[in-house]
Every structure is written in C-alpha cells, then in structure tokens.
C-alpha cells in the first residue's frame, strides 16, 4: 500500500497536474479570502470557507480523475492486481495520496488568514478602549478547516469511485464535477422549496447545509460522522468495483 501511495504522490508532480492543482487552489483561495474578508471589511471567515467548498467542484476532480482511469487505460492495473497487495491496500494507497496533497494544500492556504490577525492587532492598538472582541475567531477557523477537510475527503472518495468506473479521464472528471455540483447546490436549491418534508430530507442529505454549524465554530459530531461515512461508503464501493471486475 505504501508503494502505491508513494507512486501516486510522486506522479502528481511528474505530470503538471499536481502543480496545476496546487497553483489554482492557492490562487483561488487567496482571491476568495480577499473578497470575503478584507474587501468586505469583516473578520468573519465563514463565507470564505463556504466559497472554498465551491472551488472543490473543479479542483477535486483534477486530483481524482486519473487515479484509476489511467491505470485501466495503460493496463497497469493488472500489475497492481497481481501484486501481493489487497484491493483495499490499492484503493487506500491512492486515496491517501490524493488526501495528502489535498490536506497539505488546505493547510498551506491558511496563510491567507494571517493578514486578518495582523489587521486585528493594529486595530486593537489604535483603539484605546477595551473592545470586547476584535479579529477573527480562531476556534471558528479551526472548526471550518476541519469541516472543509472532511468534506474534501468525502469528495475525493467520490471522485476515486467514479474514476474506477471508466477508463476515460475526461469522463471521470466531468461526472465527478456533476456529482459534487449537485451535492453542494442542494443546499441552495433548498431555500426555494416550501414543502417542509422535502426541505427536511434535502437538508439532511445536503453537504453544504451541514457545514453551517462549522462556520459558527461548532464541531458537529453528526456532520463529522456523515462526512466520514460518505468517504467510507465510496471507498467500499470502489473496492467492490474491483472485486466485481474479477468475477465479471
């Protein structure tokens, strides 16, 4: 499993795709951070993180599209399947490689929030009076980062699953984009629905609406469990795809 993990991580940076992903992610995050906090003159980072989720629509498929599709096209999956590595080992190796790059980039993008702290410091000095609270809320940021990472991992496992279904990278990317888009947009669509029952169900399913708790600094266990289960279910499905192909 570790060999596959290493190989995948390395291959992100042999091809341009790893650099493109990191570059676009950091640029988009910086831009969104500027608009949602500095230009909007607020210390509230909730909007920034919510917008970050929407950038995943394009960014996560970049990471996951080739993971299995390329192996299938080059017939190299035969090598992995006949090596003394279990299917779980193969799937998790790939998942963790994508996850490492993703989590790493998210953590690096936290640099964007430092200007807020710097501004808060100067503002606090300039005001003589003891203002109750100036500056961004650190617990809120931490809970948001945790939420964003968990949602990203869920999306990665969805992308991984889609990639295992096709040998065309482009098809894998497009389908993943569609799925992530639907999952994120559900929350917005919900506001236009007036039937309570439907709203309740969609609200329960929606990834974005569960994220609102995180933006207020609440570590919502049910949401964490929900995101982790999505990852788990799609990883399991990917394993099943390979299991089934053997028997096909």
């Amino acid at each position: 499993m570790f060999a596959i993990y290493k190989k995948e991580l390395r291959s992100y940076f042999i091809n341009a795709i790893g650099y493109v992903y990191v570059g676009v992610f950091l640029a988009a995050a910086a831009l969104m951070c500027c608009y949602t906090t500095l230009i909007s003159k607020t210390y509230d980072t909730g909007t920034y993180f919510t917008m970050l989720l929407f950038s995943f629509i394009i960014l996560i498929p970049l990471l996951t599209m080739k993971l299995f599709a390329e192996e299938k096209k080059l017939r190299t999956e035969q090598l992995l399947m006949t090596a003394p590595v279990s299917i779980w080992g193969m799937v998790l190796g790939k998942f963790f490689a994508a996850a490492t790059l993703f989590v790493g980039t998210v953590l690096v993008s936290c640099i964007n929030l430092f200007p807020l702290y710097v501004y808060a410091n100067t503002e606090r000095l300039s005001q003589d009076a003891q203002v109750f609270r100036i500056g961004p809320s650190t617990p809120e940021i931490i809970s948001c980062v945790i939420g964003v990472i968990l949602i990203g991992l869920a999306f990665i496992s969805i992308g991984l699953f889609v990639s295992s279904l096709t040998e065309n990278q482009l098809a894998a990317a497009v389908i993943t984009v569609a799925i992530i888009l639907v999952m994120l947009i559900l929350g917005i669509v919900n506001e236009f629905i007036h039937v309570y029952a439907i709203r309740f169900v969609i609200d329960w399913i929606s990834i974005a609406s569960r994220f609102t708790n995180f933006t207020t600094g609440i570590l919502d266990y049910s949401a964490i469990l929900y995101y982790l289960s999505i990852s788990g279910v799609f990883l399991l499905l990917t394993v099943r795809v390979y299991d089934k192909r053997r028997w096909g």
Binding site: F2, A3, I4, K6, K7, R10, S11, I14, N15, L74, R75, T76, E77, Q78, L79, L80, M81, T82, A83, P84, V85, S86, R246, W247, G248
Partner: protein, 359 residues
C-alpha cells in the same frame, strides 16, 4: 508447483475456459499454445489472481489463489500480454516501485542490477519508459516479472515485438530461468515452444486438446516421411502402383510436368523408410526415378491439425484431402484421443511400437 483443477471461466454466457486441469512440476517449463481467443490469457489471468474462476481451483506453491491470494501472489512473477508500464517513470523508478510493491526483501541495488544484466537493460536504466522502443519496453516488463525472484514465472507472449536476436536472447533467458524457476509461457510461435518448453499444453476453445512432452511431439514430427518424387512413366499406372504399394499411406500427382516425368507427393507410414524399396520397384518396372526430395512436416502442421480436429471433425475431414496429410491427421488424432482418454502412455506407446517395428 502449480495445480489447476477443473477450471471454468464464463464471461456471461460465453465460456472462455471450460474445465481445464493440469499440473506443472517444479522447474518445468510449460508452453501454453492455442489460436487466438482459445483461453490462454484468461487461464494465465486466473493463475495470477487477476481474474477469479467461475469454478475450479488453482494452487500455486501450495497456496490456493482464491483462499490465500496474498501468499500465492508472492510466489508469482507475471508479464501480461501488454507489459504494464508507467510511461512517465524511468526504468529505475519503475523497477524500484515494483520492488516496493512486491515487498521484496533482497538487497535492492544488487538485486536490480542482477536483473538488469539478465535482461540487458543497463544502458536504458535512467531513461523514461515512454521514450523506449517496443523491444526495450518488453524487456522492462520481463525485468518486472523477475523482481523478488519468484518461484513461478508466467509470461504471456514474451517475445512479441522483439527483433530476432532479442528473441533468441529471451529464449535463452527462459531456458536459464527454467533451471530454478517454474515457467509457464504462452505463445503463437511454435519453434519457441519447441526450443524452450519441456511440455506443451494446447488449448482450443477453452479446452485442453493436448498435453504432451515436447520430445514426444518432436519425435512424431521427425518420424513422418513425406516425399516429393519425380518419375518418368505413364502417370496413371505409376500413381496406381504408388497407391497400391504397402508402406505408402497416400500418393498424389502434382500438375508439374517435366518432359515425360511427373511429380508425385507420397507419404510413407510412420516409422517406415520406403526409399530403397520404392527405388527397386520402379527399377523393376523400368520407370526411371529422376528426383526425390524429403518434405519436412512442421510442428505448425500438427498444431493446425490438432486444433482443426478438435474444433470440427467434419470440416477438418473435408479439408484434409486438400491441405493436411494423412500422417498429420493420424498424429493429431492420436494426441487428441490420448488427451481425451487421459491415458498417459497411449501416445508414447504408439511411437514406441513404431520404433520397434522399424528395428
């Protein structure tokens, strides 16, 4: 070392492998032969655990591939039909990846160096696989299969795409590997099988139609006598005489005519040398024999005969009068019968008795 029992693989309603059983002993080189779509690759994929069998069992070095895949796979080196290469890696990176993937415990630098020397890829060691020629890619694929020095090595058409010199090198390599590894290879090239393998297993339409030691088949080929002879004399009478003569299985006249001489092809019975006898007979009749040429029978002919007979007897018989000769037919039939009857000595016994007759 390898034990295959009643292996069946269905793709939907299509039966790719139909009840195959055979065993490969330690240190044996077995050639898997068969026309396209016969089920060779499927069999190999099942052996290596890439596919699962519909029913039946496969065990490698005592480990069942289905029940204990991890242990079984540790004992296998596999080169699929299309070498599984990552085009954007260098040869070095690729081999190191495989070394790690297989969890190999040998000294890495030394082991990889040895393998590179064996398959002669030292000079491309630091190049990107994408830029290598097909022959080199194939060799990198072979190198990959040798990593970890597995006890069982399975090659699916290892010499495809290599130049003649490389083919000979790979054959020598296979022969050397056969000394301390068990090797299964599939191929279309019959000389290869003849040159390398201890035993030949012929598969057609998912069934084993022959499972025979190479030397037996080679002997069968050598024992056949087919001649092209040129005789001056009345065509019909000569032909009648040839057909009536004991020891001759068949005689045909060819359309070539050279003065008053006609060319005939004759086949003698297996193990009977009729040349002298024929000469005296012709001399008696006063029909000068002005040319005689032995026509070799190739392994190909036997292979085609076996496959044809196993797939469709009627079709085969119809064609046989034109193309195949009776002796080939006979040999193919014997091999087929032997395989069907599971009578281990039938085939060899046939030729033993012929040898006795000759002596």
């Amino acid at each position: 070392m390898i034990k295959i029992e009643h292996l069946v693989k269905n793709y939907g309603t299509n039966c790719a492998v139909d009840d195959i059983s055979f065993e490969v002993k330690k240190g044996e080189i077995v050639g898997l032969l068969g026309p396209n779509g016969a089920g060779k690759s499927t069999t190999m994929n099942i052996l290596t655990g890439y596919l699962s069998a519909t029913s039946g069992s496969v065990s490698i070095a005592g480990f069942n591939v289905l029940d204990n895949p991890m242990e079984a796979k540790k004992h296998i080196g596999y080169l699929p039909e299309q070498p599984p290469l990552y085009m954007d890696m260098t040869v070095e990176e690729y081999l190191i990846f495989n070394y790690n993937l297989k969890g190999c415990k040998l000294n890495r630098t030394k082991h990889l160096e040895e393998i590179c020397d064996v398959v002669k890829i030292r000079d491309v060691y630091h190049r990107v696989i994408k830029n290598l020629s097909k022959g080199y890619r194939q060799r990198v694929g072979i190198a990959q299969a040798l990593i970890g020095s597995p006890e069982v090595i399975i090659f699916d058409e290892p010499t495809v795409g290599l130049d003649p010199k490389q083919i000979i090198e790979v054959r020598n390599l296979l022969r050397n590997l056969g000394r301390d590894h068990t090797v299964i290879l599939s191929t279309h090239i019959l000389q290869e099988v003849q040159a390398v393998c201890d035993r030949i297993v012929i598969i057609n339409k998912g069934k084993i139609v022959a499972n025979e030691l190479t030397e037996n088949i080679t002997r069968a080929v050598e024992n056949t006598r087919r001649f092209q002879i040129k005789i001056c004399g009345p065509q019909k009478e000569v032909l009648a005489m040839l057909r009536a003569k004991s020891g001759i299985v068949s005689a045909e006249v060819l359309s070539q005519r050279d003065g008053d001489a006609y060319t005939y092809t004759i086949e003698s019975e297996v193990g009977v040398d009729i040349r002298k006898n024929l000469f005296y007979t012709l001399a008696e009749k006063n029909w000068p024999l002005i040319g005689m040429e032995a026509l070799g029978m190739s392994l190909e002919d036997i292979f085609i005969a076996i496959v044809d007979q196993s797939s469709n007897k009627k079709k085969y018989e119809r064609r046989s009068t034109k193309g195949r000769t009776k002796v080939e037919q006979e040999i193919a039939k014997n091999i087929l019968e032997k395989t069907t009857a599971q009578d281990s000595d039938g085939f060899s016994a046939l030729f033993d008795s012929d040898d006795n007759k000759k002596n």
